[in-house]
Assembly symmetry: C2
Homo-oligomer: 466 residues x 2
């Protein structure tokens, strides 16, 4: 399975639980409180703040991990020309990510006078863990984001006390790590996997360059928005001078517990995903094998990210019957049209009494169905996004200028090979899906997500050290 | 006190709880499950999804209500010239808000064939409640957002099953309701409260017009981001043809339970707020009295909203000691500088051995303190925001172009009179606060938030019907 380390409650989790106990009137010492919390906290806590996911393992977390409620995904562009800088960054990221996912700060907090008050409160993080490789010195070539202040705060501190919140951090490599502008910057061009293709232009794409592409990918998922953002923010800071933010994107998932969550269009999203509980499905459709061109990708996956804006105002002005034709499902139950329950099988051959297909030809569920795509499947792990409003030119008559919601879907899909997964499926959808009149793909990226790291090693070691 | 109706668990809450029980293997009928849930749900449930806040009352909710974890605030501009249209909108909003806060859909779901599956699942909302005033017909004067489809879905449906989540909805009136471009559109100019001033330009303001101002204000707060956004989205839809979105803004608050939450700068925010548990403080500083110019505002408040972008990348590159000088507080404990505990009194007169003030002259905590502002206090009820990234020109040397976080604070403050509250306090901060080098005010609005509505009446009735 994905992870070979048992989850353990974090120190921060202890402190939080301890705080709650104290608030409830208990008069235990801090150590006793921590012990009590340890004894009471099950391995898989139901408290989303206390949940802990392992970082090290055969696979990276955040792919088949049960989906957390929030994400922050980001792409960075490498600004260095030195291979060793890239390796140092990946080492620093690996160490920091291992700390962060276990509920620690990105680096140990220093014990200056200013933090003594925190020590009194028992909130200073473990200082015995290995510190990330230190980043030092400004660059004079203009590539650095800004000079790094070696004395700067080791962590922004904004999630102290919040608990690990089930944080996973997933790293990926974009095409630009291998070749950029025709240049083999780091001697990796020959090791680029064939499956890491440049995505084709799809029908209707309206991609914004500044929300598209990227050399390096970070996906943080957690049961709290600030914990997810905090992780990316610390990692981006560690990259100052080596890589700069290209785009970042917050996302969320609001779902009744234990049920398929609804997207902003009001429909259940993810019903037909291949089951992550079935390793054979994951091996077939999600995990990359050891292909001759990229043996280092064994146990990794390929991830496509699309920022899909949805014209909610327009959608909200349509009838439920019409919306159901668009999706091919009933809105409230989530059942395929003509069926009663969400998980009833999608029968694409069923016809009504007039001989017309019950599930429309150009409905989303038909076009994206495995049976319409030569058996292809992808593991969707998408989030809604809501970046408030923007002032836009309307994209339909009468072309008025208007404030619109900048909201929609951060589509995230994992697959063993995009050439058999996202690309043919989206090609069909982009051409025929009725939903396209309400959706616009404005951002796009594809990444090779390498396997997990072994303790002491780093993410991507197989690429650089083989 | 603020609310005169006891909270009650909602139908949707019952259904959710029932669903959980069924998932756990119980074999009760739906009615039995609902009864079991009723018996077990305390009036003030600790489950944030089941929390219910009353809508009707002396005051509107969302002012002294214990702060929920998420918000969506929005301003709309009136596009109608008719006073009756405005009243009809406020009636429709009041009815819909009363439904939404109790965990119902904005309007009853219709019982067409397409919703029968939902009825089977027991998810159709109560249809006996009064429906909002129906909005019908497109306008030909170009003022409508788009023609309203009378058959359109009565609710976007994206929060079905999520529970009321402690939703509050707060409405406010901007200066433009009273006069706009010198015109008294609705015969209300003479009733504009003197306290509803046009905010002055403050030092350093860099306001974006499309994120500033607005004739009408909606603040939705809830324990879930989708529930908060859903509420504004339904209300904005009800306004089609009468008012159009000017700006919307999502916000959140990630805090360890029962502790003061930290903002994105990593400091605890809200420590020195006047206590909402002290009615005399609320009456003095928050609730408006029955002034001769605006007797209809008795029991209301005046709300200032500021979108404050924070240059997190820059802030993250500074030392903790420096950050503490900026705030005037210790970062980890939240204590005033030189003190041990968060709630230790701020002593502005304390000096170090050299005779220098312990809390710096231009620190945020000193400049905003009651003692520096002739006793003025405001009730801050702010949220962090995170609208992902934008491509910006840097605002400090060497003026590079870069992707930056579009994140910061949605500052929300309630007060009995902005001329004694926000305006003098912010005037001082805008001129002297060390924090200004990291913050930029890019949006601004002020609203008169009228008192709560009585059942059968509507928000703002006192303004229109006196």
């Amino acid at each position: 399975m994905a992870h070979d380390q048992p989850p353990r409650p974090s120190r921060r989790g202890f402190l939080k639980a301890g705080g709650a106990a104290v608030a409830a009137g208990a008069s235990l010492g801090a150590a006793q409180v921590a012990q009590a919390a340890l004894a009471k906290t099950p391995a898989h806590s139901v408290d989303p703040q206390l949940a802990v996911e392992p970082f090290y393992g055969l696979h990276q977390g955040g792919v088949v991990t049960a989906q957390q409620s929030h994400t922050y995904v980001a792409a960075l562009d490498l600004t260095t020309e030195k291979r060793d800088d890239v390796i140092a960054l990946l080492r620093a990221w690996t160490d920091a990510a291992a700390r962060l996912t276990q509920g620690n700060t990105a680096a140990p907090l220093s014990t200056t006078a200013s933090t003594q008050a925190a020590q009194v409160d028992g909130m200073v993080e473990n200082t015995s863990s290995s510190a990330p490789a230190s980043k030092s010195g400004a660059k004079d070539d203009g590539s650095a984001y800004s000079p790094v202040n070696a004395k700067a705060a080791p962590d922004s501190g904004d999630v102290l006390g919040l608990g690990p919140c089930g944080l996973t951090i997933t790293f990926g490599f974009g095409p630009g790590l291998f070749t950029k502008d025709g240049k083999d910057r780091y001697g990796l061009a020959a090791r680029r996997p064939a499956a890491l293709v440049d995505l084709p232009r799809f029908n209707g794409d309206q991609l914004i360059e500044q929300k598209t592409g990227g050399d390096l990918f970070i996906q943080a998922c957690a049961n709290d928005q600030q914990v997810a953002f905090h992780a990316v923010r610390q990692l981006a800071r560690l990259a100052y001078g080596t890589a700069a933010m290209r785009w970042g994107q917050a996302g969320f998932l609001s779902g009744p517990r234990g049920q398929t969550p609804r997207n902003l269009m009001g429909f259940k999203d993810g019903t037909n995903n291949p089951s992550t509980a079935k390793p054979q499905l994951m091996n077939e459709f999600v995990w990359a094998g050891a292909t001759p061109d990229a043996p280092w990708m064994e146990g990794g996956t390929y991830t496509v990210v699309r920022r899909i804006r949805i014209t909610l105002e327009h959608w909200d002005n349509t009838e439920v019957d019409f919306q159901e034709q668009v999706f091919g499902r009933h809105k409230y139950s989530g059942a395929p049209i003509g069926k009663k329950s969400e998980f009833d099988a999608v029968d694409l051959k069923e016809e009504d009494k007039d001989g017309n297909p019950v599930i429309p030809e150009n409905s989303h569920v038909r076009l994206s169905n495995q049976a319409s795509n030569n058996g292809a499947q992808i593991l969707r792990r998408s989030y809604s996004y809501n970046d408030s409003t923007d002032f836009y030119i309307e994209r339909w008559p009468p072309w008025r200028q208007e404030t619109e919601y900048d909201a929609g879907l951060i589509f995230v899909a994992h697959q063993s090979d995009p050439r058999k997964g996202f690309i043919p499926i989206n090609d069909r959808l982009a051409k025929f899906d009725m939903m396209n009149q309400f959706t616009t793909h404005v951002g796009s990226a594809v990444f090779a997500v390498p396997p997990g790291a072994k303790p002491g090693s780093y993410i991507g070691a197989g690429l650089f050290e083989a």
